[in-house]
Amino acid sequence: MAIFQRISWRLVALLGITLAFHAARASEETRASPDTRASPDTRASPDTRASPAGICDDATFLRRISQDLVGRQPLPLEIDAFLSDASPTKRAAAIHRLLADPEWASTWAKYFRDVILYRRTDDRAVYMAKPLEAFLTDQLHAGQSWSHIAREMITATGAASEHGQTAIIMAQMGETSDIAAEVSRIFMGIQIQCAQCHDHFTDRWKRHQFHQFAAFFPRVEIDRSPGHGADGYTVVSRDRDPRRNKKKPDNPRRGDLEHTMPDLHDPSQPGTVMQPLFFLTGQSLPLGTSDRDRRQAIAKWITARDNPWFARALINRLWAELVGDGFYRGVDDMGPDRTAQSPEILDELSQAFADSGHDVRGTFRAIMASDEYQHASLSRANPKREGFAANCPQRLRSDQLFTQILAAVGVDESQVGNGPSGKRAKKQQSKKSVGTQAGRRQLNVPRAMFTQVFGYDPSLPREEIVGSIPQALLLMNSQPLSIAIDGNRRFTALGQLLAANKSNREVTEQVYLRALARSPTADEMKTCLDHVQSSENREEGFEDVFWALLNSVEFVYRK
């Protein structure tokens, strides 16, 4: 068997970890509950687990799991219920409840949509956003395994607008090498495309290994003839003679049934025909194999239970998203020649994930039950976080922030409309280019417009994601938000609070719960009450308080 197994599995054996996934699931009830470890509120400091941060408090915990699982802060009623719940297993129960919420599936569908579409090489693929999100939401909600989802995407065919699983192929517009690169990056965390033009500089991969891998995908084609679905793009298998005029001038071999590795010294030469061979296991197929058989074979081999990189890729990604850093620094840049931090945790989780048949919900449960996840946060740059000793504040992703704003101001997404109407929209609809048209329409919905300002590629190192001026301007000065916090209107959450004959203290408390999912401290309460007192009128004063909280740093971070 391949070398990677020796490295990590021996470690697992040495540590004697045989924890099965159902065991992780069973133990989570106890691991996450205060009856086996001191309750965070009663625990004597210093922390016995030597974490400088300790376990986070209940309010922080609820806000964190809500943002992480359903993409928004908890609502005031949820907070009340959770804080007053005396059950020792309430943390595990809350995780369980949110994982069953349809919003969990849609939140993570959006995350993986971004993983795929931010690496598109062709902007026409933006119109895959909707079908891809729909596909992933359905799969995740139905509890489909990660291996099932991966196989669906790797072997996808059909009309793109109806088959979101074609998104990886569409994002790369059917380019053989780019599809291979993305399949390896997304599902195995191995950036073998670095070996496309030369042997990899730091890892073991040779140039021919990349091209052998690419040889699983040369017969994937995007058919652009109209009549195949609303948007005219269909992913098809092309197992017959290449049609004329399909060759692109920059790649004279495109249109051939087999993948060729270009001759680096003389690109005008035909290059070397490559036989499909999987670089991790050596499994191969003969030349001439049909597209369907090629893709089914590689999908099966990649998602095999004994391919540790398939399991690790998702564990590393989710751990990075939930705890703050991955075991490997790049969420999608791992491989046998890289060093992981805390490899024993990675291997324990990956093994359990594989043993469970790649159960996605179970992975969330296992990670979120860990102390590493439940630690309080320290700034990303703080060296005391070493060895996952603290969680890490994460800037909310665009979709989380948008959902969270709607929840704070009490507006349902179906109420915010579908973008511009009237003359300009009609003019846009009359445009001829069908493919980009649908994409452009999608871009005009408020959430997508928000994403144009706040979106980022979730695979990038998180420390590189910084705020931008247009983001600050949108939160400070946009008209819809300004209306949404208007204290004089009866349809706004603030207007209703102010009209309900509550004291300033009560309104402040409610506004804090809505925006930050916690009560104000005594100092903060005083600052807010003083501000309201000194304002022209009560409505203005509370609009300012609400505005300040929606614009606060705390609002845009998950702690």
């Binding site: 001038p249 994601i465 910084v466 300040a548 614009n551």
Partner: protein, 421 residues
């Protein structure tokens, strides 16, 4: 309890005194006058012809040949240098323009070619390459110690929400600041409440952030710096640059009418105010049918403002330090198709440069008489980017890191066209 700073002047003093860290990119040189910036830094204006402009109906006419499409050639102020008949104003400033007639590429799909012409690289899923605008802005700003004044360093006008022109691996602080058009204020720059109250809100926000700042100081400091910079921008004098109504009627008349004319005028005003890079987009050049009549109409909207902007920059002493680029993603087929259109043709096409030290009044390269093959001095896209770098005193070998840790040069190979300087 009123806030202690109630006026705009106080605010500006407060914001500049705080010493905003330069890490996020927009700098804090409130005191640096725009003219100082210009003296020390270079700037660039890209006039982008979205869709791929026909070379034969613009700056490479083929009058007399079947592939010329019946378009006449007209004389310019430079002997022997002819433009297509739809460019009479450009013809009058031909001595400032350098026309490259030997652009050549292999990329004939709009999104990929557009990416190629904006970044100098073909798209690749492992890294988003920085676009010219972000390269120019980040490099020019680094000459200036990381400052570009109060305004955003890169502005793009009229791109209709296409998202193909970001800063990629350079980071989103160099992403273009998008304007739908030049005739309206940029989005969300008008405070929703009166100034005093806006400042009171910021004051309150700062106070309420203190608790978070104690626990997570870095995140809070970055956030605060960002809000100060955004606030300084919308209250700065520089914002007046966005108001083209401010411009004397005579100047507006010189630029002519239409969205592109407003965009060119705004581009000049922004460069004058310290912005490093402005892209002005003209849409609709994908003329698969009725090419000649469509290009005639499109040229009518671009010719006058293009020429007026070059003259205006020169009059103001800005042309030497401002590179003006006219181009699209590729050219169009020499043979006119049965619908009277021309299709995509990257094999040979054209681009025009002015200012930025480029010697005007000359033609670089040539094609065969049928307008098909480049026969003299082929200029590849990396060559063109190397040329941009030379004009703007940017070192093309500067490397940035891709997410996977691969160094990526600003320009991958390519040689600047020496005859242009």
């Amino acid at each position: 309890m009123r806030s202690y700073y109630g006026t705009r002047r106080h605010l500006l003093r407060m914001l500049s005194a705080v010493g905003v860290s330069g890490a996020l990119g927009w700098g804090n040189a409130v005191s640096l006058h725009a003219a100082d910036l210009r003296k020390r830094g270079k700037a660039c204006i890209l006039l982008w012809m979205q869709g791929g402009p026909s070379q034969f109906e613009t700056f490479s006419p083929l009058e007399g040949h079947a592939n010329g499409g019946g378009t006449r050639a007209i004389s310019t102020t430079v002997a022997g240098m002819q433009f297509a008949e739809y460019w009479p104003q450009a013809a009058r400033v031909a001595d400032r323009l350098a026309v490259i007639r030997s652009m050549t590429s292999k990329e004939g799909s709009h999104p990929r070619a557009s990416y190629f012409m904006h970044t100098g690289y073909l798209p690749n899923p492992s890294a988003r390459h920085p676009t010219l605008g972000s390269i120019v802005a980040s490099q020019c700003a680094s000459h200036l110690g990381g400052t570009t004044g109060d305004l955003p360093p890169v502005v793009r006008i009229g791109s209709r929400g296409r998202n193909d022109s970001g800063a990629g691996i350079l980071g989103m602080q160099w992403d273009p600041f998008e304007l739908r058009d030049a005739e309206h204020n940029p989005a969300n720059t008008q405070p929703m409440v009166e100034t005093d109250r806006h400042l009171r809100r910021l004051d309150l926000m700062e106070k309420l952030d203190r608790g978070f700042a104690k626990a997570l100081p870095q995140e809070a400091a970055d956030h605060s710096a960002l809000y100060k910079r955004a606030t300084r921008m919308i209250f700065s004098d520089g914002m007046r640059a966005f108001d083209i109504q401010d411009e004397p009627q005579s100047v507006r008349a010189e630029y002519g009418e239409g969205g592109f004319a407003s965009g060119c005028l705004l581009a000049r005003r922004l460069i004058e105010s310290g912005v490093s890079f402005v892209e002005v987009v003209s849409n609709g050049w994908d003329t698969h049918q009725d090419n000649a009549s469509q290009v005639e109409k499109l040229s009518g909207g671009v010719d006058r403002p293009f020429a007026a902007m070059v003259r205006d920059l020169e009059r103001r002493g800005m042309l030497d330090d401002t590179l003006v680029i006219w181009m699209g993603e590729f050219g169009r087929t020499p043979q006119v198709n049965p619908r009277g259109g021309r299709d995509h043709f990257p094999r040979s096409f054209n681009a025009v440069l002015a200012g930025g030290g480029v010697k005007g009044g000359q033609v670089i390269g040539r094609t065969d008489t049928a307008g098909i093959e480049v026969t003299d001095r082929p200029v590849t896209i990396p060559d063109l980017f190397a040329t941009f770098c030379k004009s703007l005193s940017i070192d093309p070998t500067v490397e940035n890191m891709s997410p996977s840790g691969r160094p990526i040069k600003l320009v991958d190979g390519g040689k600047a066209v020496a005859d242009l300087f």
